[in-house]
């Protein structure tokens, strides 16, 4: 079972306690944007075989959103971090490159 530590309340939560929220750090588009911007925001996804940044909600716990960096092949969790950021923080990137030297963002 996948276990993620919620950075909001500090609990190591089983996946049954969490709701997945898809790819993180999407750039949102509003009224006036063109069709391809909306297509990218709403539908197109990176879907990598490897390092993935994603959103989760601690639904059956504190109820708050957070981010995780996870390997989609091994389910190794590199880090969980605050949802209040528009890109992965440097220490998270460092932790990923320590485990996956060939990885490029």
């Amino acid at each position: 079972m996948l276990i993620l530590t919620c950075p909001n309340c500090g609990i190591a939560a089983d996946e049954t306690e969490l709701s997945p929220g898809g790819q993180a750090h999407l750039k949102r588009f509003g009224p006036g944007s063109d069709d391809s911007d909306f297509e990218g925001y709403l539908f197109l996804r990176d879907n990598p075989r490897g390092v993935h940044f994603e959103r989760w909600r601690h639904a059956m716990g504190c109820g708050k959103w957070f981010h995780a960096a996870r390997c989609t092949v091994t389910n190794e969790v590199f880090a969980t971090y605050s949802a209040q950021t528009s890109e992965p923080p440097q220490d998270v990137l460092d932790r990923i490159t320590a485990r996956r030297p060939d990885w490029q963002s």
Partner: protein
């Protein structure tokens, strides 16, 4: 090609089975092909088959990184039905179902198609209304289905408990001509027919890069060297995002693990396929007597080919309530496949931003039933640049807002 028949079996029996030939050749790749198909699952092989049969394009290679049918084609629970809601879906799935009826004869290979009938249970009032709507839509589309009451359900499936405490069976959508087939045989039968037309089925050959020149495809790099081509079909299901990335475009696809399991074999007890979408479980009995069981997919992207255990628990819990007699069954095997999910739960058969590259993917949890029809449409698309069955499923529909929404109608269905 050596034809299979009752006489061939008798002849070989008399000479101690020493005369059987290999079903397909395993050649080294040539330098160049008119068309290359990446992925020797059912959809890739069917695409190649119809390219040869319907369009005379036979200088074709099918490249597979693992073994034939080792992807989702060999991992699915083989439900075949065509009771979808939207017109473009009904057209391609019904074409496909009807091609299954003659596939064993077409391919001279027994795919064990068994049109035993499929019931989708309605266990909430919402589902009753939804399936009645589908039955009406199917009537207009020329797909034979009917909405049946709980008594008919009980007659068709004596082992079912229709008075479940939480989700009693209120009726069902019945497609008498749906059923199952042998998944490996579908892949093997097509591979044999393709090889017989002079096509090269090349296993253990992973595509690692896609060569382009000025917005046009020129070939692929593989673990067996570079191969040139005029046209390239990407038919790799869960790995479509990875191949699209190699070709420099993005797809509206997310890959997740979907699981299935089978029980020890028991005596015949259920001769139809039953799907229960509200409680996330479905079951059929294989010819060997195993109960074949499937359920919901993972909620988050992954390529683990394993899946989360709690989905199995949920599925089995729901099925034990629906079929109390299975509560003492032992499970023999469990496995997972990586399925390719789109935003509207409909597939993609499409040209791409790169000239000469075509993509067939997004069949998600339910593409086994679509193999022959999808190959038919994809071959036409690759040969002519347009196909009435494929055109509504273009990848550009997401930009244009022309969704083919099956997520409401199909739920978790396969």
């Amino acid at each position: 090609m050596q034809r299979y028949s009752v006489f061939a079996v008798a002849r070989e029996a008399l000479r101690f089975h020493k005369g059987w030939q290999r079903a397909w050749r395993s050649p080294a790749p040539k330098k160049r092909y008119d068309a290359i198909i990446v992925g020797a699952g059912g959809h890739g092989l069917a695409t190649a088959y119809w390219l040869g049969r319907n369009h005379g394009i036979r200088n074709v290679a099918i490249l597979e990184k693992g073994w034939l049918g080792g992807g989702n084609t060999g991992r699915n629970t083989t439900i075949i039905r065509s009771n979808y809601l939207q017109d473009p879906s009904a057209a391609i799935y019904e074409k496909s179902r009807s091609l299954y009826e003659t596939m064993s004869q077409d391919l001279n290979y027994n795919v064990m198609f068994s049109p035993r009938g499929v019931i989708m249970l309605a266990q909430t009032h919402h589902e009753v209304r939804g399936y009645q709507r589908t039955a009406h839509a199917n009537a207009l589309q020329g797909v034979t289905t009917e909405f049946i009451g709980p008594d008919r359900v009980k007659k068709l499936v004596p082992i079912i408990n229709i008075h479940g405490p939480r989700y009693p069976v209120l009726g069902g959508l019945w497609q008498a001509r749906g059923g199952t087939a042998r998944h490996d045989a579908v892949a093997w039968g097509y591979a044999r027919a393709c090889s017989d037309m002079g096509m090269d089925v090349i296993q253990q050959c992973e595509v690692t890069a896609i060569r382009r020149d000025g917005g046009r495809v020129t070939g692929v790099a593989t673990t067996k060297g570079d191969i040139a081509c005029d046209k390239l079909g990407l038919v790799v299901a869960g790995h479509s995002g990875v191949l699209a990335d190699m070709a420099g475009f993005r797809l509206p696809i997310e890959s997740v693990a979907l699981q299935a399991l089978v029980s020890e074999p028991i005596k015949p007890c259920m001769d139809v396929v039953v799907m229960a979408n509200t409680v996330h479980g479905y079951m059929s009995q294989s010819d060997k007597g195993e109960m074949v069981i499937g359920g919901g997919a993972d909620g988050y992207n992954n390529y683990t080919q394993r899946g989360s255990f709690h989905h199995i628990e949920e599925t089995v819990r729901a099925l034990v309530e629906t079929f109390p007699m299975i509560s003492r069954l032992k499970m023999l095997r469990q496995w997972g496949g990586i399925v390719d999910m789109t935003g509207d739960r409909s597939p993609i058969l499409s040209k791409t931003p790169v000239d000469g590259i075509f993509v067939n993917c997004g069949w998600g949890t339910g593409g086994f039933k679509a193999i022959p029809g999808s190959g038919w449409a994809m071959a036409e698309l690759m040969a002519k640049g347009t196909s009435p069955l494929a055109d509504p499923f273009s990848m550009f529909r997401f930009r244009e807002g022309r969704f083919i929404d099956e997520s409401v109608a199909a739920g978790v269905a396969h």
